[in-house]
Symmetry: C2
Subunit: 449 residues, 2 copies
């Protein structure tokens, strides 16, 4: 049975904390899975959370701490003394500990480190702080299991037992040579079923060893782990020496963040922000696109103003301005979304011409269907001349929007700019201006203005 967090349960917990009813808390909370406890703490105030947190045993504390939402965790850590933080760090994996320290000032970091009792762990953490957080070095942990090429299986098991104390999840044993260079992999399965005197060198897998360098970007790490279906990946330095490993759970977060970022970019939000960011940060993240939109709108005004005479004669021409711009925008966004996604999946060898040809065909088909509909609507609504004007203009606008919508991300991608920038306001704005120009030109011709 999985635990389901309900409002009732949360209410009971809050009351128990209020009353300092440790019996109720111990009975109902300590047995839960750490992810469920974290979910609970996310909903409490930091004082309430602290009360529950310090009822947990050390190992559980570490697991819960890393499952908290990032901002909840940061706020929570800020309520602890540097000695208390040091105690928490001792129970964490080195990469998690480094992440937490990374949020503190240099002075705070020094203080916390000075309170740590396990010198080796402290050293590992300090070492990890040197790496850029968006690289493999910044993602990796120092806890992994390695075996030497020359060991026999029985010695290997003894050595591994010692190493394994620090390592929570063992997926694969990394095999190194005398110089600590990564030479291969060994699955626990093979080790388990091998006879005691077999040498590791006769047992390990040395072909197609996939690793990443400390300097590889986190996106590259995610791409490689996804492509090769890995649950953990070894990290090596420039001499191919084994220095760490990255596990799939850290990479899943990156993949989700990437998807979120693309979604936000496409929605016209320029910085990566969370729903709980401050009002000021939220405004700032959105302003760039709004200003681009204003520029587009101003250009649109410029285009329309050149047709001022036509409008004062035939004001009905103004009626369908929003339809033309909206449809241009919609079609453009649709086309660019498809292209952006296919680029994100790395279909780099599909020819640009074939993509454009396809989008053009889709544009033709949808343009035709929409034009026929709008001809009927505009004719009934006003008159046949307006009907013909709007339907011809709409057809051309849809076709153009489909082509522009797919071309712009392809061009951005060629110049190494994130193509997700193209969806959203950018394409919309461009298509607005273009659409208005087409619409009024067609109108002028048909109305003989």
């Amino acid at each position: 049975m999985r635990f389901e967090l309900t409002k009732d349960f949360l209410e009971q917990l809050r009351r128990a904390i209020q009353a300092e009813d440790t019996v109720w808390i111990d009975e109902h909370i300590l047995g839960l899975h750490f992810a469920d406890i974290a979910e609970l703490l996310d909903e409490l105030t930091k004082e309430q959370a602290k009360f529950v947190y310090f009822r947990l045993d050390e190992d559980l504390q570490a697991d819960v701490l890393m499952e908290l939402e990032e901002d909840v965790r940061d706020r929570f850590i800020k309520t602890l003394s540097s000695k208390e933080i040091a105690e928490q760090l001792e129970n964490l994996d080195s990469d998690d500990a480094a992440d937490i320290l990374g949020e503190l000032t240099d002075k705070e970091i020094q203080e916390v480190i000075s309170h740590m009792e396990d010198d080796e762990a402290a050293e590992d953490i300090v070492d990890l702080l040197n790496y850029d957080e968006d690289t493999a070095g910044g993602l990796m942990q120092k806890e992994f299991i390695q075996a030497n090429l020359s060991w026999p299986v029985d010695r290997c098991i003894v050595e591994l037992r010692r190493q394994a104390e620090d390592v929570e999840q063992v997926y694969t044993i990394y095999v190194v040579d005398q110089l600590n260079k990564l030479v291969g992999l060994l699955s626990l399965k093979r080790l388990l079923f091998a006879s005691p005197k077999t040498k590791i060198s006769d047992l390990y897998q040395d072909k197609n060893i996939i690793s990443v360098k400390t300097t590889d970007s986190s996106e590259e790490v995610a791409r490689v782990m996804e492509k090769y279906d890995l649950v953990s990946i070894p990290v090596v330095d420039f001499q191919n020496k084994l220095v760490g490993r990255i596990t799939i759970d850290d990479v899943m977060d990156i993949i989700k963040e990437e998807a979120d970022k693309d979604f936000q970019l496409a929605s016209g939000i320029s910085e990566k922000i969370e729903a709980n960011a401050t009002v000021w940060r939220m405004s700032r993240a959105r302003l760039p696109w709004l200003l681009i939109g204003m520029l587009g709108g101003t250009l649109g005004a410029q285009v329309i103003s050149t047709y001022e005479g036509s409008i004062s004669k035939i004001p009905a021409l103004a009626f369908f301005i929003p339809l033309i711009t909206a449809m241009g925008g919609n079609v453009g966004v649709q086309s660019s979304a498809i292209v952006v996604q296919s680029l994100a999946r790395g279909n780099q060898f599909d020819s640009i011409t074939s993509k454009l040809a396809k989008e053009t065909l889709v544009g033709l088909l949808n343009g035709l269907i929409c034009s026929i509909c709008i001809f009927g609507i505009a004719t009934v609504f006003e008159n046949q001349t307006l009907g013909i004007t709007v339907s011809i203009a709409l057809f051309v606008v849809i076709l153009f929007a489909a082509i522009m919508g797919s071309m712009i991300p392809l061009i951005l991608n060629r110049y190494k700019i994130d193509p997700a920038l193209a969806t959203g306001p950018f394409v919309t704005t461009l298509n607005d201006v273009l659409g208005l120009f087409i619409y009024f030109t067609v109108g002028m011709i048909l109305y003989g203005l």
Copy 2:
């Protein structure tokens, strides 16, 4: 060193296939990682791919086959006889085999199954075909490792060795009782370091065992594995009997698909489609939104037409129609994107009022900044009355759009409709109509029309 696919290499490979140069192919291809070979085959014609594929040994074939892009694989399978397909299935995991069979007609499935030599494997696959492909049952594989509560460690290792032949990746051993009910987990690490006579019942972990039911949806499986940081999850039936397991690589695909679907929904594409879908399917997936957009445009035309008199007197009012609608749309999409993402992350306990209040504040701030800018622009462009009209209207439109953009996904979510539907054309269309109404009302008042 990781393999990087280049156009040159691809060209050489094509030439080698053309010349049936098996020496070159064996030397350059057979040593590659299966994921790299699959990437290569994705770029070849199905005849070329077939030629390379049948140079690989059986195990490599199976790995490569499952790494091919779905449509490439489907086309490839169609070129094989049912006997050849049966041979391929024998080397696959049961879930992969069932996926491939699922693409065939009932008659073809019967034929392929009749050609399979391993009866037990055939039975597993046929069993899996009974489950809906979007459920845990449809995702799970029959290959997993289980141990009985009553076994001692040494017997367990002997039994596991037999079972492990079929299981490629061993992450966790599932512990069952005499009735085959799932009672706990055992890590390979613990087994490796235990003494031979220890009973499994003294070794296994029985607390907080996370499993899914065969009927759980694939989204639920993804959510649970993500929340609890699992690389594999056991699947049980209604009696809690262990029937399969799901591994993280299958779930990563679902997570990516979900993100893609949200992105497409937000971009106004109603069915999940790939970049290589047919023109007809692509058109159909986009039409619903375009027709909604047309409806919105027609409503907009209706709104404007009620101000026909004003426009014929002051045609300059028409100039800023696109700016007003575009800005309403942009702000609405931004607000809804933030709300949709925060809902997708499951922040269900944040109060709706606090979200609305925040979006309103952001709307106020951005509305103020944009209004000031546009007042200057419109005043220079035309005159002060138009400047005041546009800036007041824009402020109100931005504020409204921010509120509507965040309210609509919240409302949809409450009625269990996917809130991602709200972003894109839906919000844009609504804001267009509202924005026009506000704009012309302000204009009429200020111009005294």
